[in-house]
Amino acid sequence: MPLYSQIIQYVLSGITIGSVYAIIALGFNIIYNSTSIINFAQGEFVMLGGLTMIFFTVMLKFPLVIGFPLTVLVLTLIGIIMERFAISPIKKPTVVTLIIVTIAVSILFKGIAMLVWGKDTHFLPPFSGEKGIAFMGASLNPQYIWVVGITVVVVVLLSVFFKYTIIGKAMTACAVNRTAASLMGINVKRMVLLSFALSAAIGGIAGIIITPITLMSYDNGAILGLKGFGAAVLGGLGNFYGAIFAGLLLGVMESLGAGLVHSGYKDAIALLVLLLVLFIKPSGIFGVTEASGFKKF
């Protein structure tokens, strides 16, 4: 394969994996905006999404159109349960306590997933076959189109939700100023619950679409969460479009790094760029300096 088609191949797979990082980053941002918590269990939502989808479509043989919404529903419930039983019982929350709580929850999820699905890596068949489509000298896996397409749908739906619905606007208000929002009659606690439900649901979607490409096992959550967190920080925490851009950037860099430099160093290259960006602009590419100093430990 000539170099330029190779590069196209890497960029294509980079955009695909980057879309997933972008969705995970959006999940981080939704919770961060309403609570200023970094939810370290975000990656576990992705893992649970993938494995739940496998349970419905592979083990129970449900068709995709039923398995998909069912999985999203299950994940939404998991998000609600997490908020009710782990986050809301904390009496005097500090940022560090909440971080440790979400880490504890992520260990718990991992433990449950191991009990339910075992230690094996599970396979989910691609949504529409595996036959590659020729594209500018590179081969395009049809699942890539599904991933990017669903990501676009998720992004559009989320921006419509935050801009045009009353609940979405209320959540945005909480993100801007929680005290002011509660003075305007917004039930902040309900918004927090909702943000966990929403975040778990889109984490689940990320898991469903990536599993046919990368497979899924109980311990895959952490690394996916890490990349998503990286994208969220790189884009400026809480910044909606920043997260999408940074997710794609991280994905493409990682893929090019793995293909052209050395596959062992692919994560290191992505992280190195992330560190450099942070050192030059400490609040992420699109972040505001004030915001980065505001919510401290």
Partner: protein, 314 residues
Amino acid sequence: MDKKDSLTLLILTVCLVIFPFIVTNTYYISTMVFVGINGIIAIGLSLLMGYAGQISIGHAAFFGLGAYTSAVLTAKLGFHPWGAFFLGILLSSCIALIIGIPSLKLKGHYLAMATLGFGEITYIVFNELTDITGGPSGIGDIPKISLAGYTMNTDIKYYFFVWAFLLLILTFSLNLIHSRIGRALRSIHDSEVAANAMGINTGKLKIQVFMISAVFGSVAGSLYTHYVTFVSPSSFGLFFSILLVMMVVIGGMHSVWGALIGAALLTILPEFLRALKDFEIFVYGSVLLLIMIFLPRGLIGGLEYLFNRLIKKV
């Protein structure tokens, strides 16, 4: 160090000396060695987190740097263990300085991400620099360390060796906290702006504490290497960094004693849970969650509360 600290330190020392005479099982002694090693890093991290108010989710990297410096220099290049030990300290503090200057300008979650990234990069380098580090299969046959003619070749000897180090580091940290520097650090934790306004060079101080905690990490790493005589990257990954943060928070972030208690709990607990086999991770996660829900100020905060109530009743 105040009176209460000196007294606790004395009681701890006595308990530690008596312990191996009561418990002769080498398995427990060996677990205690690991408590000591983890305790040393946790104390350093608690200085950084609890006092200077800066989080680091990459401290396993300094532990790894110490461990690998000792391993590579002694097993492959025939250095004297103590020479490697001090070179590890030197390397860790230099890297802490280089990483610390840009990182510690970051705040909150951005700092968390930067240290996390640094930790991961170090971990990847340990894995990929196969010529030097042996890659994923690691380095074996690392010689034992000796002190004043005694080779630390049994669990009991190593137990005393590690805990002597820990007590030294603990005394140093307690003195540091109650010094002018310690007060300055706590002021940074409460408000960096106010600390700056009071004429404290917060930037310099944060980097110094970061370097101190890196040195503690490196010391623990070298001690670990000469105890298990084998290193591989898997001991120095993200999970261990997170575990260290949990030790500090679960023990009680605002006290170095808390860090020690946290290190003890999170080192001993998995040993007991191992009997549960597949339920191990599940129970481990549940215990952590319950501690954080019911004792948000950590174990030491909970103990203080109980103690105060007891005194009131008496």
